[in-house]
Symmetry: C2
Subunit: 341 residues, 2 copies
């Protein structure tokens, strides 16, 4: 089987010195003579010694692990955020343990339990769309366990978080629609209890208001963030007597699904219905027409979340920083009605 890793003891025995001497020599402790230090360091490299993180963890009561809870890993958005988190974790000598909730409340609770059992030093999470009860996170907060939210957050909890300026972004989308002559602007939202849904809805309402458009409840539909459900929502919109002339999907997955349905109905994008998404997935540029969307600094979002995390565990700060990242509306073909311009 696998060769055992060499330990300080192995080196100590080989050199006929004590374990503590080896330990000190490897950290250049002044107590150890230069000759002995050199000798020990040389042989340590030769034998390929690396400290055992388990022993260190036990001693220092730290595992150098960060738990990351996400709704779904198989997604450009979350994969990219993870990538961002990992990049700063790596810089700090930490590694991340990923646990997907699969958008399930139960699995999210399990994830928290499992990560706690694994003794991660903290958790960075994006709550599942099912999550309405937040007692499992409240528990962590009560124990002052390091916790950071990103994207979908719990507003009621006083926790560092990083989100995106959805309010402003959606407002600018509405203005963009209006500039293109749209008057009946629909919004396919996510579950209403989700922070991003609320936030973007407010932007939607305010945008309509600023554009002098009246809010029509028929044009605001909810879906559960799945493509299937988004298709249903789109069909519902298209079955209205007065069809919308613009649709904003809360994310690109929703917008892609809507696009398919619209095409299937024989309607033209953007001529009949202008379409805008959110999050700017890689494939926005490959669909036809190319999808207007809001760039979401996903990688940066991950890095910021990790930064907040290390703020907590390093500075032991109790200040709950809320980072709001900017977005940018990338205008492509799906929303530009040429006749208007």
């Amino acid at each position: 089987m696998v060769k055992r890793h060499v330990s300080l003891k192995d080196l100590a025995v080989e050199l006929g010195v004590s374990v503590s001497t080896v330990s000190r020599a490897l950290k250049n402790h002044p107590d150890i003579s230069h000759q002995l230090t050199d000798k020990i360091q040389k042989i340590a490299i030769e034998r390929n010694y690396t400290p055992n993180p388990l022993a260190m963890g036990l001693l220092k009561a730290q595992t150098k692990m960060i738990g990351v809870i996400i709704p779904d890993i198989v997604t450009h958005f979350f994969a990219s955020v993870i990538s961002g988190i990992e990049s700063v974790a790596k810089e700090k000598g930490y590694f991340i343990v990923i646990s997907s909730s699969n958008e399930s409340f139960e699995k999210e609770k399990e994830s928290v339990d499992n990560l706690l059992k694994s003794r991660v030093e903290g958790i960075i999470a994006c709550i599942s769309q099912e999550t309405n009860d937040i007692s499992h996170f409240q528990r962590l907060i009560n124990n002052e366990f390091p916790l950071v939210f990103f994207d979908r957050i719990c507003e009621v909890l006083s926790v560092p978080s990083v989100t995106v300026n959805g309010f402003e972004a959606v407002k600018s989308i509405i203005h963009h629609f209006k500039d293109n002559g749209c008057k009946r602007i629909a919004y396919i939202s996510g579950p209403s209890h989700l922070s991003i849904s609320k936030n973007r809805k407010e932007g939607y309402l305010e945008g309509l208001n600023e554009c002098g458009l009246e809010f029509n409840p028929d044009l605001l539909v909810e879906c559960n963030l799945s493509a299937a459900d988004a298709s249903l929502a789109t069909k519902q919109l298209l079955s209205l007597d007065k069809k919308p002339d613009a649709i904003f999907g809360i994310n690109d997955t929703i917008a892609f699904a809507a696009m398919k349905v619209i095409k299937k109905h024989g309607l033209k994008i953007p001529e009949d219905i202008a379409l805008v998404g959110f999050t700017d997935e890689f494939h926005s540029t490959v669909v036809e027409p190319t999808l207007t969307s809001v760039t979401h600094p996903t990688f940066l979002m991950g890095r910021e979340a990790a930064r907040l995390f290390f703020n907590i565990i390093e500075k032991e700060s109790t200040y709950h920083e809320k980072v709001i990242l900017p977005t940018e509306l990338i205008i492509r073909d799906s929303s530009v009605k040429r006749n208007v311009l």
Copy 2:
């Protein structure tokens, strides 16, 4: 700061018994009286005791961690494989540590080092496209360190692996092209040293052969698996005096990139050029025309890789199982020339 986790000692002190008694009681050891066992178990639950994995790891010399090296996490394919690996790891009480090589040879070597330092019990890897020198993996094998490859493998190394039947898949693509009247079938390949490139190239050649088509070196171009490079490769193909009437991209990312270029050149898909990809990304159905592609059982691939891994560490088997997963050609609009049918 964070409340310390409660240990056996804490419970022992609280109850005035020894640590060993608590340890045994929690595992229902017959040596401990029923009353005491009950009392201990009750208070353990009350205090929310969970065993410290670090201490266990130290004792048992196992970390319950699997290292996973992938070229890029921000990809449907790899995210999905990871998801598969994680699902069986979770069943076994293991968790995975992900390290991306970013398709870089240097980073891949670093990843191996870091994972080794973290004392993962083994590594599941997909080699980077830059990787030609495999001494860092050879080292692991020499030490009988558990190692499993997936998708892109090292044929020269005797290691369990899980791949996809690229040879057969590509052959069927060529036949499909031929059935649609294509005669000049181009192949945009990946770096030639990669196992998947070689494998699929053989399928390409054999397919041409079976279809009575002659191999034309001009129609076989290589790219580095990036969209940008794929665009270049496509342009090269389109600049030929005798343009191809069909293009097969080694994966969907390549095919998407090719699609954009073809459209930009004012050529019609599939009428002028039929197009087929590989891996069946989620967005295959949303591009226009929808992309014919080969389904790649990514999740299963992850599960199989993990299964092979546990085979090694559990049964200590030295048999190097090579799993080859089946694929299926999903025919969509991008390759079906209506006039022929």
